[in-house]
């Protein structure tokens, strides 16, 4: 079902973010499973067990609640600047939910839900945003690359990994995600091109949240859709309602199946909205319209998926209450673990620069430690 090209799906009235496919002079596949009220299109409904659906809902809820708690912690000076993911849980979680453990994930920096679904501990994510490199050490998440703060760079890593998968004869695929702003970067286009030439098993997920800090989607590209950029690279492009977690899941699963079967890469555009600031240092009041924001809060992916679960008989107020309690406890525990953590050795920066220690860096370490001893002596 097409992503409806209605008025609220426009960007300050300038360019339709989500045009009616009937208006386009080319064909882009579109997918929606749940409408804005959470009613399912029975023909499009994926076959997922109750337990798995609940696991998906739990991950989305944890990502939302953690994001909101992190905002409070940041405001209290207990966490550094971080980008908020509220509103984008369906895109992050629906896509990662389709991965198998032997698949890879190379994300950006606004994808907490995807990381949690990959097995990353919340405490690890918190460590990253608290300013510790240990927040990039997540063996529990397996084949999951650390956060990429450089926009779109990770898409090239994904293509190289996909090449290596084929080289090793593994039937695994790679999911890489980026934002709408990232599609303006050269690395994204080089990655799309290399993936196409190599027919590499990569899924490019563009989480189009319609803003790159203050630049609206219409200022990034004149393309009517981002999905259509796939056409130039002769790969399938799919436009999905990014607040419909089942549509994101379904599109990703189909692309993964195709990639693992040797069918090459796919570009998926998940249309969603950044409901909060870019990062805690941002002030969207300077550029974002309140009415547009309210319109998108109305499309919040969480109540939409909850309605679906309730209609299926998988969810009710009691289960929600116990989930809320459980998630609060989990976040409390992660914050507690973060804040009770033993500090690293003060000279940790001199480790892991190279595989082996080098005389020049060891001289600098000795100088650093001598200064430290002198300063603590005077203190």
């Amino acid at each position: 079902m097409p992503c409806d090209g209605n008025a609220s799906c426009t960007d300050n009235g300038r360019t339709a973010v989500c045009p009616d496919p009937a208006d386009l002079s080319f064909r882009i596949a579109t997918l929606r499973v749940l409408d804005e009220q959470g009613r399912v299109q029975p023909t499009a409904e994926p076959d997922v067990s109750e337990a798995e659906l609940v696991r998906l809902y739990r991950a989305m809820t944890l990502a939302r609640e953690a994001d909101q708690r992190m905002l409070k912690l940041q405001r209290q000076g207990r966490l550094g600047t971080f980008p908020l993911c509220t509103g984008q849980e369906a895109a992050a979680c629906g896509s990662a939910f389709a991965l198998r453990p032997d698949d890879w994930y190379a994300g950006g920096y606004r994808d907490l839900g995807a990381r949690l679904l990959r097995g990353e501990k919340l405490e690890t994510s918190l460590l990253y945003w608290a300013g510790y490199e240990e927040g990039n050490v997540s063996p529990e998440a397996g084949r999951t690359l650390p956060t990429s703060a450089i926009v779109a760079a990770q898409t090239l890593h994904a293509v190289g990994i996909a090449y290596a998968m084929e080289y090793h004869g593994e039937r695994a695929a790679v999911l890489t995600s980026l934002g709408d702003g990232g599609t303006s970067e050269g690395d994204f286009h080089e990655a799309m091109n290399f993936a196409s030439v190599w027919q590499a098993p990569v899924i490019f997920l563009c989480v189009n949240n319609q803003w790159a800090i203050s630049m609206p989607r219409s200022g990034q590209t004149r393309s009517r859709t981002i999905a259509q950029k796939a056409i130039a690279y002769d790969m399938p492009g799919v436009l999905v309602d990014g607040n419909d977690v089942l549509a994101v899941y379904q599109a990703t699963r189909e692309a993964l199946d195709r990639a693992r079967a040797g069918g090459g890469p796919t570009l998926i555009e998940a249309v969603t909205y950044r409901l909060m600031m870019h990062t805690t240092a941002d002030d969207p009041g300077r550029y974002q319209s309140e009415s547009e924001l309210q319109e998108w809060w109305r499309r919040d992916p969480l109540p939409r998926f909850r309605t679906y679960l309730e209609d299926k008989g998988f969810w009710n107020a009691d289960r929600q209450a116990s989930l809320d309690e459980e998630i609060k406890a989990e976040i409390d525990a992660a914050v507690q673990a973060l804040e009770s953590r033993e500090g690293l050795a003060p000279d940790a920066q001199f480790e892991h620069v190279y595989d082996t220690r080098h005389a020049r860096l060891e001289d600098q370490r000795a100088e650093f430690l001598a200064n430290l001893a002198r300063e603590s002596h005077h203190a």
């Binding site: 690359l145 450089i150 760079a153 890593h157 190289g160 990994i161 690395d187 030439v197 595989d355």
Partner: protein, 326 residues
């Protein structure tokens, strides 16, 4: 031992490492069917096939970015930048990712890759084909920068670079690609990355250089030695970063005089760093100021005038004599 050019010696290193370890693969523009514009990868495509000798699209960031992914997933890619003048397009991937994965993940993820690039002037090439930007790469923590000077050390250093667990920028002095031949042993040979080589021992002056400048340096040293009987110690850095401070300071503490020769432009070059090392570790042993012989602070001129830029034996000889006479 067969006598080889540097191009042949580098080809041998790639060939032997690919035969030894099937995780090693080569990728870049025109490296496959053509064998590279300098024929460095000649014959590898026929021998190892297109999956291991990969002709890529024309995109330097793409070449290095995908190489990083390959390395993260267990391969040992050797990427070629066709000329170092095109390598700036991959700099963000090198600086932001290849160089940092180990440190930012406390060793959980590492990027063992080599990026080879011909550099330097002196082959009458077109513009953007003659730069010496080793200092730019040496300024990136986490990256090793290696510059061979002869066929034999090129082979031995490239083998070491391919087996190294960290990203290595391997800069090949293209002026030396076919300028002379040297015996290169059939059997495995490696040189340790991070170690400078004392090419000739001496007591009166230390002459330090690397890459294509080693030839005029040897010529100038021979000239001064013959005419004046001066004993000149010659150091070939081989590894630009991380630098072998010890070999530099040991030598200068012994000789008390030093000349550093670099092809790159003068300001903030590797010669400046060598002098800083001497300042830190051997200043009180100096009998004369340390001299630099370098390119000028201009973009390398087009080839019709490139000899006005490249340091030659005459300038080096004069710098040695003035330092001896100080």
């Amino acid at each position: 031992m067969p006598k080889m050019t540097m191009v042949q010696a580098i080809n041998r290193a790639l060939d032997q490492e690919m035969a030894r370890d099937d995780r090693v693969l080569v990728l870049g523009q025109d490296v496959g069917r053509l064998g590279g514009v300098f024929r460095v990868t000649e014959g590898l495509w026929d021998k190892f096939g297109p999956q291991r000798v990969v002709d890529t699209p024309l995109a330097e960031s793409g070449i290095l970015g995908t190489s990083i992914g390959m390395a993260l997933a267990g391969l040992r890619p050797v990427a070629e930048m066709q000329f170092s003048g095109f390598s700036y397009l991959m700099f963000p991937q090198l600086e932001g990712h290849a160089a940092r994965f180990r440190m930012r993940t406390r060793g959980r993820w590492t990027v063992p890759l080599v990026v080879r690039m011909p550099y330097g002037a002196g082959v009458r090439a077109l513009e953007h084909h003659s730069e010496s930007k080793e200092a730019t790469y040496a300024h990136v923590p986490g990256v090793k920068v290696v510059i061979p000077s002869t066929p034999r050390n090129a082979r031995a250093l490239l083998v070491a670079a391919i087996r190294d667990p960290d990203p290595v920028v391997f800069m090949e002095p293209k002026r030396s690609y076919r300028a002379f031949r040297e015996d290169v042993p059939e059997e495995d040979e490696m040189l340790e990355i991070g170690k400078a080589h004392v090419v000739r021992e001496g007591t009166d002056l230390t002459l330090i250089s690397w890459g294509a400048m080693m030839r005029p340096v040897l010529e100038a040293a021979q000239d001064v030695q013959t005419r004046r009987g001066a004993s000149i110690e010659i150091i070939d850095l081989l590894t630009i970063a991380p630098m072998d401070d010890q070999t530099i300071s040991d030598s200068v503490r012994k000789t008390g005089r030093c000349v550093v020769v670099q092809e790159a432009s003068k300001t903030l070059g590797i010669a400046s760093e060598v002098i800083a090392v001497i300042n830190d570790k051997a200043l009180m042993h100096l009998e004369a100021p340390v001299r630099r012989v370098t390119g000028y602070d201009v973009s390398p001129p087009y080839f019709a005038r490139e000899n006005a830029y490249i340091p030659g034996p005459g300038r080096i000889t004069r710098a040695i004599e003035e330092t001896l006479d100080f």
